[in-house]
Symmetry: D2
Subunit: 153 residues, 4 copies
């Protein structure tokens, strides 16, 4: 009935832009490293790596202007999406459908967001997708162990 998510984090890689085969609707996927609000037992600050998907005009804006390391705020809803593995299994993956993505910093390298050479950024995106199969999204689940190390703060 209500499903609201707000995240602030950094892109773990360049965004990927694709189009739906039928209607050619733009869809952009990226992963966000969102730091946890506490440190673990070793005093390290961990992060959650959360998949974001945006659609249409916003998808293209993200693909054109964002890159690995950029800081963004995303608000949207949390969704579980099903898909088939190569061997025919059904898997479910969590992702945040980004209704809005705000850019919170600007790249040091100023050839981004210049409005002129997006193709370069586009190349970067496609290049990066060579070694970034969706399998690295890495959500899955068989066994579920309750552990003291999972206790927060």
């Amino acid at each position: 009935m209500l499903n609201q998510v707000v995240l602030i984090g950094r892109l773990t890689r360049d965004p990927e832009l694709r189009y739906t085969p039928g209607n050619g609707v733009a869809v952009c996927n990226f992963s966000l490293a969102v730091e946890r609000p506490f440190t673990n037992r070793q005093g390290e600050r961990e992060a959650d790596f959360i998949n974001i998907v945006t659609w249409r005009k916003q998808a293209e804006q993200c693909a054109n202007h964002l890159g690995k390391g950029r800081l963004v705020a995303v608000n949207g809803r949390l969704q579980m999406r099903s898909y088939e593995t190569q061997d025919g299994q059904t898997r479910r993956v969590a992702e945040v459908v980004g209704e809005s993505v705000r850019f919170l910093d600007w790249p040091k390298n100023s050839n981004k967001n210049s409005g002129s050479n997006y193709s370069e950024s586009g190349f970067g995106n496609q290049g990066s997708s060579d070694n970034s199969g969706s399998d690295q999204f890495g959500f899955g689940g068989e066994e579920y162990q309750v552990d003291d190390d999972d206790v927060p703060f």
Copy 2:
């Protein structure tokens, strides 16, 4: 850096209460059916099934007072948790760590939330966990197909 989630939905089954092996910290898991804000191409309203985990006193309150079908509001943060499958693979599963869980309706069957016979409710929870291994949490991902049917509204 910021990670805020608010969900309203109904429990898809009775909550499961466990304790961490070391410190005996209470942890409660349940799954929430959260209806999407639109209908699909067949005019049906789909839902996302989202795993919730709560800790300590709140875990026990949920286990004692909630049951399948109950309506709750959860606010917390979205987390990706890793675990090992039986064959040694690492899987990651999304879950919302519930900082607060508000009860938004009361069961028709008034023997819940009576403050007297929680043990009965406790039995129900334990009984339900017999045939509900954690493997049913089951979100995972290898392949990622872009599809027109995934385009929202």
Copy 3:
């Protein structure tokens, strides 16, 4: 840049439905009692009384289906609106512009939400507005003018 609010609370009175003078856009105002997550020094649970405004179709749905005491979830954005007092001062008042309003309970009195006799419910709302000048909004406001310029998007 980002402005997200989620509230759950009860209507402190029946909603008020009006229309903008120029374009006749429906606008519905009500006030929500939102309990604080803690008790005060006297052990009492206080509430914040927060003004909500919704527009268009949602405004009419709220006016038709809601009444004093009803439990709702509102998500929207926090806005400061200016208005003139009778003696010409400018005042600013906070309100939440409700993008969505979910109904979380149903009235005991089942003649609401029956889908058949909304006109009756409508009468009730209008009747209640007779003695409910906007001054009762309790934020030091005097007159609450509905204006076409306030209609969002």
Copy 4:
């Protein structure tokens, strides 16, 4: 029952740090300019000016590290606070009680957040408060009294 706010915006002036008279609890007030997600009829992007209050350690961190123009994300709850005007009227003002405040940029002027000369930054804050009576909060407020009874939990 539930009251969650997330804002991203820029400080409209330096934060003000004070201490409650009884227990000496630190409290920091500032105002955030939060841009609206649309432009008005004249094509201008307006902003809402929203009062933020934080307590204890976070209050001091804000006072030490933040200044006018800085970009922050605030999450907290929306609260209506009463106060007395000089002529004895009761006024109510909206403010967001910031549970967490994340700093989203760093000042160009690098003598902030250096960890060494916070006293200078402190002077700046006090100096700025000379000409920043609370009346500029723009909600018709006259005097803003810090009170021990307002300290949360």
